[in-house]
């Protein structure tokens, strides 16, 4: 079991208020991603759950029990650090076995479990090596092995893949997701990479300035962002925002349309008119940056190749059903 509940969790470092009341319900076995801009408090929130920092206020429940006064060693969670944080003086075997040794598991069982974990993570040939004799990806796998071998209530990951190169990152992303599903263990995963967030998560918590802006499934966030921040943060390229008269016509202060929901027409009639200022041809997609006068610079994404070049006149027609409306305070208006 690994159900985690946050109730009004707060954290201050001296006078600085970092986490301003977080409420969250993490179901057993789910994969939850914390995403948000740098410095928004993702790591801090994760460390509060881990017990590596003490809360200033609120409650953290693990399987219904408030653990704010329980030391990290007793919370039954395991963590994978961004820096891997392997024990440099121990072999891979020693690293993975350490938690079991601390738990007083018998030697035979330790060996059996360590070898099983190593096999799952393709680490068997490296069991007797020291961390410094491994590549970055291998070290990362050792860190993951150390986390899974203890069969914790939940895994906590703090940007575990950010030190890997792009190809390895994609591979490890798949491996981590597969492993989590296979084990069925609750996971909380911190990242600022929204592709990671969208692809790995059952549910995403978007953090900004120490507050949870929205908590929902990836598609919920994409289709029904709760506010301007979430709308702008989720999705790549970023959602286009238009204010002023056009927005007012729709009964909103700001309207937003995703680049992929703008239909591009050469010298078209309706919609918003503009001039292409930059065109990026990726083959699979074409990204257009269109100078649309009063609406500012709009981004449009076309699936496939579109033969347009800077200076070409285009019109951009938003899909009516895909227009997001926001009120004065930035909150989403739902019809």
């Amino acid at each position: 079991m690994g159900q985690i509940t946050l109730q009004g969790v707060q954290k201050s470092f001296g006078p600085v208020h970092i986490i301003k009341g977080a409420d969250l319900e993490i179901a057993d076995g789910s994969f939850v991603v914390f995403v948000g801009p740098s410095g928004c408090g993702k790591t801090t929130l994760l460390r509060l759950i881990a017990g590596l920092e003490d809360v200033t206020g609120g409650a953290i429940l693990i399987d219904g029990r408030n653990v704010v006064d329980v030391p990290p060693a007793k919370r039954g969670l395991s963590m994978v650090f961004q820096s891997y944080a392997l024990y440099p003086h121990m072999s891979v075997r020693g690293n993975i076995a350490f938690g079991l040794k601390m738990a007083g598991v018998t030697r035979d069982e330790i060996n059996r479990k360590v070898e099983a974990a190593a096999a799952t993570l393709n680490l068997t040939p490296y069991l007797e090596r020291k961390p410094r004799e491994l590549s970055g990806g291998q070290r990362q796998r050792v860190a993951i092995g150390r986390a899974i071998v203890r069969e914790p209530k939940a895994f906590l990951f703090d940007e575990p893949l950010s030190n890997l190169d792009a190809a390895l990152r994609v591979q490890m992303r798949l491996e981590v997701t597969r492993l989590q599903k296979q084990l069925g263990t609750t996971a909380i995963y911190v990242t600022h990479d929204q592709v990671e967030a969208m692809t790995m998560a059952d549910k995403i918590a978007v953090l900004n300035g120490g507050k949870i802006e929205q908590y929902g499934s990836p598609l919920e966030l994409y289709e029904k962002p709760a506010n301007l921040f979430v709308a702008g943060f989720i999705g790549s390229p970023k959602m286009n925002f238009v204010t002023g008269e056009l927005a007012k016509q729709q009964g909103a202060t700001t309207i937003g349309v995703r680049p992929e929901h703008l239909k591009v027409e050469r010298n078209g009639q309706g919609g918003w008119h503009g001039t292409v200022s930059v065109a990026e041809h990726l083959g699979s997609d074409t990204f257009l940056y269109v100078d649309a006068g009063p609406q500012g610079v709009l981004t449009a994404r076309y699936i496939g190749e579109l033969d347009l070049h800077p200076g070409d006149k285009v019109s951009l027609i938003p899909e009516p059903a895909r227009i997001h409306r926001f009120d004065d305070s930035g909150k989403s208006i739902r019809a």
């Binding site: 881990a50 590596l52 030391p71 990290p72 060693a73 007793k74 969670l77 395991s78 963590m79 650090f81 820096s83 944080a85 392997l86 024990y87 440099p88 003086h89 350490f98 938690g99 601390m102 738990a103 150390r146 203890r150």
Partner: protein, 276 residues
């Protein structure tokens, strides 16, 4: 062309390094040489460098006049004991300051170091009186106590610096792995800190071995270490260069040997830090 310049530079800097090294080593060499001369040759002007009448009579006389082994044993007990106790106090102190610092930690460290800025002679009289009234004068325990206190600030400071270099993440990982504070210390922190601990230990041992102010002032015979043994050769009866040199050579020999064999450890600890 460029290559020639670098080769020449290398030759120059190597020569310079050897020269400086020799200059620093020279007093010790001179002392060792003097210990094999007769008293007359020892202060002859001009001095003879290698071509003199080699003799070991100084060593024989020194051992006859005062018991080298008695003093050496005292030195070992006092330096070893004070170092051991200092380490036992300093490890937890430095550990807590490095890993759970408070707002005042820096102040505490500075305050500790500031006690080393006071000249010891400033507190000699009170300490002497205290020692006399509690019966610690000329006892090994007394010297262990005072040397331990004297070196404690430096030991804590050094260990603090080494501990500071150990990534906090690794200790937190141990905590997440279910290690209690004690086990974290034993299984994770200590092994990573070994190079730093070793060089601190060695340095403290050398400092305590050579400490001359308190040992000379607070001991006479019973607890007197090798420093007192040396000093007894610059006595009112006259200066005996050759015998003084023989005594000094005997006194530094053990620590020199220890230093020689542990120099790799010492240099590594002093330059590269504990982990990398």
């Amino acid at each position: 062309m460029a290559r020639m310049v670098t080769t020449r530079n290398k030759v120059i800097s190597t020569t310079a390094a050897w020269l400086v090294g020799f200059l620093i080593f020279f007093p010790i060499l001179w002392m060792v040489l003097a210990s094999f001369k007769t008293e007359l040759e020892a202060f002859a002007i001009p001095p003879s460098f290698l071509f003199f009448h080699w003799t070991t009579e100084n060593y024989v006389t020194v051992q006859e006049r005062s018991d080298y082994f008695h003093h050496a044993l005292n030195s070992i007990i006092i330096a070893g004991g004070s170092t051991l106790i200092a380490m036992l106090i300093a490890i937890p102190a430095a550990w807590s300051m490095a890993f759970s610092p408070t707002k005042r930690t820096k102040d505490v460290l500075l305050w500790m170091l500031s006690t080393k800025m006071m000249p010891p002679v400033g507190v000699l009289v009170p300490i002497y009186l205290i020692f006399r009234s509690v019966g610690l004068l000329d006892t090994r325990a007394g010297l262990i106590f005072i040397l331990c206190l004297g070196n404690l600030p430096i030991v804590i400071w050094m260990l603090f610096t080494y501990f500071k270099e150990i990534p906090k993440d690794i200790l937190e990982a141990a905590r997440m792995d279910g290690a209690t504070i004690g086990r974290e210390l034993i299984y994770v922190l200590t092994p990573m800190a070994v190079p730093g601990l070793a060089s601190t230990l060695l340095l403290n041992l050398i400092l305590a071995w050579n400490e001359a102010f308190w040992t000379l002032n607070l001991s006479t015979l019973e607890a007197a270490p090798l420093t007192v043994f040396i000093a007894s050769y610059s006595s009112p009866e006259g200066l005996f260069w050759a015998k003084l040199s023989a005594a000094s050579t005997l006194a530094i020999a053990p620590i020199l040997v220890l230093g020689w064999f542990s120099q790799r450890q010492l240099v590594r600890g002093l330059t590269f830090g504990a982990v990398k």
